[in-house]
Symmetry: C2
Subunit: 478 residues, 2 copies
């Protein structure tokens, strides 16, 4: 069978070629296919089911703190994009332009949205008149387009799926609290649902979002020590409000400018899941977002009673978990390999002997640990083992991050670490763009963030030696 | 208050100006806002929440019959769009063309997808090799763009949200069964969830989808007698497969072409909901898709115990329904008008006297019928009343359709009916394009469908008088 042949070819080991390992997984776990549309990906059913689980959980978290979903147009007229100066400078070089509708040339070009601040601002200007109209806590699930030169599935694609939250508030304090709240939501989601430890902090001026006053980020560390920016939250002050003429009558009857935020998480996070938890046998998925949480593999399935017992078990367990029973003709060994490739957290093996003894074997995806479990204890044991599994994923990722976190007090030390290792380097920074650029040039690292949890490595900038009070985490990034 | 002022202006009565009544509702129920992007709409929280409910129900129905969701690119290269001749002829005149990425001119233009058959075909050609790979039952939730000259919210917009199912099968029979199955899913959804009676039938050659062998449709009749095509399902035969070189090794080891289908329902259906059930006080929403199913309006809310009782009721009823408690400063009368405008199926009024008597008043949106219900019987009474309400919506729409359904045995009769009435006209047809075009020209009606349930009005074509065995339903359409 064609499918079987595909599976038998092993994937490239991670240590041999990490980039190849990544694309092998993406392809062989059937997350993505390529198309003739350069830089765009086809998200296949298994990949999209992961995204649907992510959407469902995040959407619930957003709604729990009062956000509502909306849908704004795909296109932005050129004149609208140009209203906020920093924003257009950041995005104009990387947008796709629509110039014709049918056979007619447009009088004004439309760009395909790279992000929707400008559209939200125009809408807010229509609907906000009084402090009573505030806040608006909106979110949108959609796809956006950024004209990238080089692309990789999930990590950097011309089109990607995401959510973009856009909120508008009466006061600066409220907007800043929203910005931080949404960063906390992302961190909670990454750590507690995806088992990915993240570093929370602020982006430098150089790395912040085009048009923002401040950008906050959660940074995850991949297995190879590179950082992946996994969610960002921006505070805009009243800059967009002024550019788009959004004002409201305040409680004191004066005309005031509102304060805005935006925040986003995208299909990039699938790249983080793959590169944080995956191994040389394939994907390893956290249970909350796994399309299949438990796969039942019947052993000696043509023996009397096996399929009946397996089917009964599937029906029973489906009430609590996403369960698949694989009753195909493939051998159990082939199935084991397939569901390991697909990262299914638990495998349940059930053969004639097990049925006789009223038990089954549960096998964890991460370490292949086996548990012999009486059938009538499954409802207690499955959540217990999934908990252990989830914790182990987090611990393994945290241990990798710890092993790959360094600190440097001098430029020489920093360059030495950066040349020999891949990971986070903590070092003091004076706050100047010149030093940030020098670090990029000399050590090949960029600032990942100014962590909220600060430490004092020294009292001098690692680059220029001037007094420094900020510790920055530096590294290479996807 | 600005909001209050907005509400006080009444909407245009339906009988005075149906088109104005429609846009008034769309605007004042806060379903949609306009933007500077011509022909595109902003779907506001209340409108989007309806769409989310539609998505949730439909997605569940699709998955229950084995469909999986995927995501394909937003763009289609010009050469790919051109591979199937009829398809490109139908769509090329109405697509938006991307010609530049950043500042670079593209070597090949990309169109923004108007529908995704071509992309699905390219993907199928990659992943299908053997009969074992079939069927693929895919669906995609996304937005599409068609360059329309004149637009109206939900009914005809340049960009709209929809789902597009695309399936591929081993045999013609399987694909045809799928096409009909999905039409039944749409009819079930429209009738049982949206309370909209629909006519099921086949489109004529002239009206079928570009590239299809046959197109099936569900047609709904709006309050003004015009038809709205509400969902379509297409059988493609192996035409696309041949154009895109999709073939598989059959059970008999020969190379074969698979058979395909596609089917879609869009945000247009919100237009159908508005124009089927709405009245001069605003929206009237079927319970299954209403963002708020029951609104609690406390009366004399500043009297002791009222807000406590209302809050307790909200908390209790929220376990079973989507409930809102309006504790704003607005008067009860103002609130009644607001939630009537928003089409909330049930209003629950609760005042000090009611609390004393352990009861409340439930008021239906459709006919303002009042029910005095003991508080401890609410859990039984609410579903009972919602059932009556849902049935009444369906009956009212069915009665309108019956009143506006005519039949004609001659051209003279047909023209007379069409000039004096708006509705469906049943008449026999010989099957020729000439007669179809003559009916359009002389009576201003188009063929809505060839209903599955046929009747014999006469044995002659209403137009040319030649022998005819097909009854067609003719009418004006949105």
């Amino acid at each position: 069978m064609a499918d079987q042949k595909k599976m038998v070819e092993a994937i490239t080991p991670m240590d041999e070629d990490f980039a190849k390992w990544y694309t092998d997984i993406v392809k062989k776990a059937e997350l993505v296919d390529y198309s003739s549309v350069r830089g765009c990906m086809i998200i296949r059913p298994y990949g999209y089911a992961i995204w649907e689980n992510i959407q469902r959980i995040l959407d619930g978290m957003f709604k729990a703190c009062g956000h509502e979903n909306v849908y704004l147009p795909l296109f932005i007229p050129e004149s609208l994009l140009q209203k906020e100066k920093d924003h257009v400078e950041g995005f104009a070089p990387e947008v796709a332009w629509v110039t014709h509708g049918g056979s007619d040339k447009l009088t004004e070009r439309l760009c395909v949205r790279p992000t929707s601040e400008t559209l939200f601002c125009e809408h807010y200007a229509h609907i906000i008149n009084s402090y009573r109209d505030l806040p608006k806590l909106y979110n949108q699930w959609c796809s956006v387009v950024r004209w990238e030169k080089t692309t990789r599935p999930f990590l950097r694609t011309m089109e990607f799926l995401w959510q973009e939250g856009h909120t508008i508030h009466e006061t600066r304090e409220e907007a800043e609290a929203e910005t931080r709240q949404m960063l906390d939501v992302y961190a909670d989601f990454a750590q507690n649902h995806l088992a990915i430890p993240v570093l929370k902090g602020q982006k430098t001026e150089k790395e912040k979002f085009a048009g923002a006053v401040s950008t906050y980020t959660i940074e995850a560390m991949m297995h190879d020590g590179k950082a992946l920016q996994s969610g960002t939250s921006h505070y805009f002050g009243d800059g967009f409000a002024k550019a788009f003429d959004i004002s409201f009558q305040g409680r004191d009857n004066t005309r005031q400018f509102p304060h805005q935020t935006s925040w986003g998480m995208s299909t990039r996070i699938l790249g983080a899941i793959i590169m944080t938890h995956g191994d040389d046998n394939g994907l390893v998925l956290p249970p909350d977002i796994a399309p299949i949480q438990l796969v039942i593999v019947p052993v000696a399935m043509h023996k009397e009673g096996v399929m009946e017992a397996a089917t009964a078990l599937r029906n029973r367990l489906s009430a609590g978990w996403r369960v698949k029973l694989d009753d195909s003709d493939n051998s159990p060994g082939w199935k084991y390999a397939e569901y390991e490739m697909k990262g299914v957290p638990l495998r349940l093996e059930l053969g004639p002997r097990d049925i006789q003894e009223g038990q089954c074997v549960l096998v964890r995806r991460d370490n292949r640990e086996k548990y012999f479990v009486p059938l009538d204890e499954l409802d207690q044991k499955i959540p217990e083992i999934l908990r252990l599994y989830q914790d182990a994923l987090f611990e393994k990722a945290a241990a990798n991050r710890k092993r790959r976190t360094f600190q440097a007090a001098s430029m020489e030390e920093l360059c030495g670490i950066a040349s020999e290792n891949s990971g986070y380097i903590k070092a003091m920074w004076c706050g100047s763009l010149a030093c940030e650029e020098a670090l990029k040039e000399k050590a090949g690292v960029s600032s990942r963030c100014i962590p909220f949890e600060q430490e004092t490595i020294s009292d001098r900038c690692v680059c220029c030696g001037k007094p420094a009070s900020q510790m920055v985490v530096w590294g290479k990034a996807y």
